[in-house]
């Protein structure tokens, strides 16, 4: 599996993973609660500044943010065409904001630390007899795979561009699906060899 984690250190690398997750959760809920567009724009500006403050550490995730901006602009255009420009702007700002938040978490947090937080969060379930470690692994893997979707897409896009000189676009969707399914199988193999699951 690939990763968007950046080995170029930043101030966010030094924050504990639990704190970062908590902040991510709180700010995404706050973004949802903000109904006034001005506040949303302000929140967006703050998040964009934070993202920029990561410097080179944000490099692996930049394409992801660009994708979110383009997609938001398209849907914003659609909303404008149907006469709801402000609604389009609001949901576009929110999507790009949360994408940047997620990108910051991914670029600066190690998988093991995330697993630790997930285990701590789920630990009350242990009393119900649930396999907490396995559930945490599953939650962690979900985030790793979400990252991998993007990594894999970039790999395919690179290969396609080298070979045809053009961007692959939607033509890469089917290959991406298959590559991801194969990745899941490989991850399962690696896990079952190395862990007593």
């Amino acid at each position: 599996m690939g990763t968007l984690y950046s080995e170029i250190s930043s101030w966010m690398h030094r924050l504990p993973a639990g704190l970062k997750l908590l902040l991510l959760a709180l700010s995404s809920m706050a973004l949802l609660a903000l109904s006034d567009l001005r506040f949303q724009a302000l929140a967006f500006a703050v998040i964009a500044l934070l993202y920029a403050s990561l410097g080179a550490a944000s490099r692996p995730t930049r394409r992801l943010v660009v994708v979110a901006v383009i997609a938001s602009a398209l849907v914003g255009g659609l909303h404008t065409a149907t006469g709801q420009p402000w609604l389009g702007l609001a949901s576009g700002l929110r999507l790009v904001s949360t994408t940047m938040l997620g990108a910051m978490l991914t670029a600066t947090t190690r998988f093991g630390d995330l697993l630790g937080v997930a285990e701590w969060l789920l630990s009350p379930l242990a009393r119900l007899g649930l396999p907490v470690e396995r559930l945490a692994l599953q939650l962690g893997l979900m985030l790793r795979f979400a990252e991998q979707f993007f990594v894999q897409w970039q790999r395919l896009a690179d290969a396609y561009r080298v070979r045809t000189g053009r961007a692959g676009g939607w033509r890469l969707l089917a290959p991406l699906t298959i590559h991801m399914l194969i990745t899941a199988r490989k991850v399962a193999d690696a896990l079952s060899i190395r862990l007593k699951l």
């Binding site: 599996m1 697993l115 060899i193």
Partner: protein
């Protein structure tokens, strides 16, 4: 170095009896039987001969639809949970093996099957790397390593798990010359039973036993020097034919 390799017990005993294996539409093995007690075993053969498939069988990733596979007394199809610690596999392609984004976490994963806590495992991984002069690798992102460096990480991860049987699938393929020498030296020192598949025959020529697989069948089995020579002679005969004749004579998928 806190991790002693000597902790691995050493019952070198692998038994395959009448194994039949299909993968997808391909029939890979049709009644393969083997009894491996030597401590250093080489595995050679053409692409698609079944080397990787044999390794996958030995560590329980593939299920024989007939026959049985015993590794150090463990039935790999029934006692899968006990396998980590008994068998370790270094995958042919490093990207198939690596799950964690940083080197130290990836190595630390190797200790989890023994119940070592994550933090403690990472500390041990750092010491393990430092003992090899690789201390600065510990916090690096695996995706920022070159392919050969990733292959070294895969090897170190298996070494750290210190299983009784080490299966190495073309471990030298992407390593540089110093890396190959170092790997060979570490393997010499490991008390585990070691099976190495490779296309570079010089790495296994001196082994007491080498297996030559051909379309899933054991075509050669004996001392390294003899089996490697036989395989080389066969290859030489095949490539002496002109390109198209060779192709026509080899319509099987394994020999493109």
């Amino acid at each position: 170095m806190t991790l002693s390799l000597a902790q691995t017990a050493s019952t070198a005993d692998i038994r395959l009896s009448d194994v039949h294996l299909n993968r997808g539409a391909q029939t890979v093995f049709q009644g393969l039987s083997l009894h491996l007690t030597q401590r250093r075993i080489g595995l050679i053969g053409d692409n698609g001969a079944g080397k990787t498939s044999l390794f996958r069988l030995l560590c329980g990733l593939e299920h024989a639809h007939q026959g049985s596979v015993l590794v150090a007394g463990c039935d790999v199809q029934r006692q899968r949970e006990q396998l980590p610690g008994v068998v370790g596999l270094m995958f042919q392609n490093p990207d198939d093996q690596i799950i964690f984004p940083t080197v130290e976490e990836e190595l630390g994963l190797s200790l989890q099957y023994r119940g070592v806590a994550r933090k403690a495992a990472i500390v041990q991984a750092r010491e393990f790397l430092a003992a090899r002069g690789l201390a600065d690798w510990a916090p690096r992102a695996v995706s920022g390593l070159s392919q050969g460096q990733r292959q070294q990480v895969c090897f170190l991860a298996m070494l750290m798990a210190a299983p009784q049987v080490m299966l190495l699938d073309e471990p030298f393929a992407s390593l540089d010359l110093p890396g190959q020498a170092r790997l060979a030296r570490e393997l010499d020192a490991a008390p585990a039973q070691v099976i190495i598949s490779t296309h570079v025959l010089d790495h296994v020529r001196h082994f007491e036993r080498v297996l030559w697989l051909d379309h899933g069948q054991l075509r050669g089995d004996g001392p390294g020097a003899a089996v490697c020579a036989a395989y080389e002679a066969d290859v030489k005969a095949r490539i002496a034919q002109p390109l198209d004749a060779a192709a026509a004579a080899q319509p099987t998928p394994g020999a493109p």
